[in-house]
């Protein structure tokens, strides 16, 4: 039989199923995907398309949408979530979850506030914020990696603990006096350079760094391997426990950094800062292509996922729809994103 008749019979519906040999053949003969084709198959690409589509639609709905002021605010608003989503994506890539990031923002924020209120400069304030975050991340990571506790439970516990500690040490008071470095501190999180808000600059730089890390670093490769098959990673000699601890520390550090920048923007901090944010951060990561089953991560997914969520909020606002609908649409997109992922994978692995 010639090849052409063979392929003819294949396309006819209702034929006998392909033999294994034929399936093997079709798999082996698949050509490698080019860079461009590979890009079309990634989730961040399609979410970016959705963003552009929604953005385009909004230019017709509202005159305000494309104004510099609106874009400035929108990008700054999602920068905080995007930064945390970068860290969250690493955790999700290992098939874990970090529910404590919102509460940790509150704790880191309060500690920063207390340190600076006591007269220390912005550097000690920053180090305090990151130090607290690293400690919390370390505790999460050790419990999950070495004591093999479920990430959901450990970080849920930490969500409650971190929030409670921030309430206790803040004595339930708002902090707005940041000592001698107040101006610099408020500038860091609240102002802009070259027309771009500082938190957005941080997000851009970190996204570039993470892009490199996921593609070119051994650490990144190992995190992805652990998410794919932790047992295989261990057999290959990868220090699985230490790597898992490191992703939780990393996720915590991004929460600490976001808290530090966010206080600068708000101009004050109270112990409610960041409450409920864990849901937005997880949603941003998943919409950006992180797979809760592990093994998939995109650096650009974090800002893109966060951008879509902020865009939804902004669009509803400008279109005059009640802001109470925001969570509805965020949830809708989250489910759609996972559904899209499912559909694309079904075609690939069967």
């Amino acid at each position: 039989m010639t090849d052409s008749t063979n392929s003819n019979t294949r396309t006819k519906p209702g034929r006998v199923p392909l033999s294994h040999a034929e399936i093997d053949e079709s798999i082996t003969s698949r050509t490698e995907r080019s860079g461009l084709q590979a890009m079309f198959q990634t989730q961040p690409f399609w979410v970016l398309m959705a963003i552009l589509g929604l953005g385009l639609a909004m230019t017709f709905v509202s005159d305000v949408f494309l104004t510099e002021r609106n874009l400035f605010n929108t990008t700054r608003n999602f920068a905080f979530f995007g930064i945390m989503a970068l860290g969250m994506s690493a955790v999700i890539c290992t098939a874990g979850i970090d529910l404590s990031v919102g509460s940790l923002m509150g704790l880191s924020g309060i500690v920063t506030g207390l340190v600076m209120e006591a007269g220390y400069g912005v550097v000690p304030g920053f180090l305090a914020s990151m130090g607290v975050a690293a400690l919390v991340g370390l505790i999460n990571g050790v419990l999950i990696a070495y004591l093999r506790m479920a990430p959901f439970v450990v970080t849920l516990g930490m969500l409650a603990i971190a929030r409670s500690i921030s309430m206790v040490i803040s004595n339930n008071k708002m902090i707005f006096d940041f000592g001698p470095d107040t101006d610099l501190f408020l500038w860091l999180g609240g102002e802009s350079v070259l027309g771009v808000p500082n938190p957005v600059w941080v997000l851009i730089v970190l996204t570039a760094v993470f892009w490199w890390v996921w593609r070119y670093s051994t650490w990144g490769r190992w995190v992805i391997a652990i998410g794919g098959n932790a047992k295989a990673a261990r057999l290959a000699g990868i220090p699985v426990e230490r790597i898992i601890v490191s992703v939780y520390v990393l996720s915590a550090l991004t929460a600490g950094l976001s808290a530090f920048l966010m206080i600068g923007w708000f101009g004050s901090v109270n112990n409610a800062m960041g409450s409920g944010y864990e849901l937005n951060v997880i949603a941003a990561s998943v919409i950006g292509g992180a797979n809760l089953m592990g093994g998939v991560v995109y650096a650009v997914g974090a800002p893109i996922g966060a951008a879509l969520m902020e865009l939804i909020r902004n669009s509803l606002l400008l279109a005059g729809i009640d802001a109470l609908w925001q969570q509805f649409f965020v949830g809708l997109f989250l489910i759609l994103a996972v559904l899209l992922e499912q559909i694309r994978n079904r075609g690939k692995s069967d």
Binding site: I27, R221, G227, A236
Partner: protein, 246 residues
């Protein structure tokens, strides 16, 4: 001199004697089939060679030197590589990434080290070519056939120039056509001078590629014969106990 020598290996778990005085030797370039029914002691023996268990009594010698493995990594350092039944591959990574997993090749840019994709893909491609496998280094393992996965797992063992490759049921879960491919891979390993221990339930595979066959039954070795001196019928009899020993 044989490469690996197991001398009267005994392993007990409490009152259960999983292995009793099992001796086995494998030479360079030789493939030995290890057969036996479920519970005969195959996995226990494998785990002792792989360093997962320590024998209760008996000695393991590599090239005449007595060795003791406390951990799998120590067996690996002594030149024993294992291809696990479930292969231990990461589906979400490419073939080359799996081959080099845990021992990635890196380039330096000042103090910064980064993954050297070009060298890894090239070397993995060479390994697949040596194994005469059509596996492509850049393909994701997720998209591969069972035979190609085996090739990736075997190529990985060759990276460290092992002395002995231990294969656990490499043909158990793949299609007929791919079995031939895997058996060819085993021949390549023999040709390259590696010793191979093939644990298998499949009689045709053992008679196809192995030089010798050892049969375990209830923790003791009941036969160790050259393939040319035995028949599948005899081996089957030995496995099920119809023939007591040979």
């Amino acid at each position: 001199m044989s490469l690996l020598e197991l001398d009267s290996i005994t392993k007990s778990f409490g009152a259960i004697h999983a292995l009793q005085g099992v001796s086995l030797s494998v030479a360079r370039g030789e493939a030995v089939g290890l057969m036996g029914d479920n519970g005969a002691g195959k996995s226990t023996l494998m785990k002792i060679i792989a360093g997962n268990f320590r024998p209760t009594a008996g000695a393991i010698r590599i090239e005449g030197r007595e060795v003791q493995f406390n951990k799998p990594i120590e067996a690996r350092q002594s030149g024993i590589e294992i291809v696990y039944q479930d292969l231990g591959l990461c589906d979400n990574l490419t073939a080359a990434a799996n081959v080099f997993l845990g021992r990635e090749m890196k380039k330096s840019f000042g103090p910064i080290k980064y993954l050297d994709y070009r060298s890894m893909n090239k070397r993995a491609g060479e390994l697949f070519a040596e194994l005469k496998s059509e596996t492509r280094p850049r393909d994701l393992v997720k998209q591969m056939s069972g035979g190609q996965r085996q090739a990736v797992a075997i190529a990985r063992t060759r990276l460290s120039e092992p002395k002995l490759v231990l294969m656990d049921e490499p043909t158990a879960a793949i299609s007929v056509r791919q079995v031939a491919e895997v058996l060819n891979l085993i021949r390549r390993l023999k040709d390259a001078g590696h010793a191979v221990i093939l644990v298998s339930h499949r009689m045709p595979d053992v008679f196809d590629v192995c030089d010798r066959v050892a049969v375990l039954r209830r923790g003791t070795k009941v036969a160790d014969k050259r393939i040319d001196d035995t028949t599948p019928e005899e081996v089957t009899g030995l496995i099920i106990g119809a023939i007591r020993a040979a």
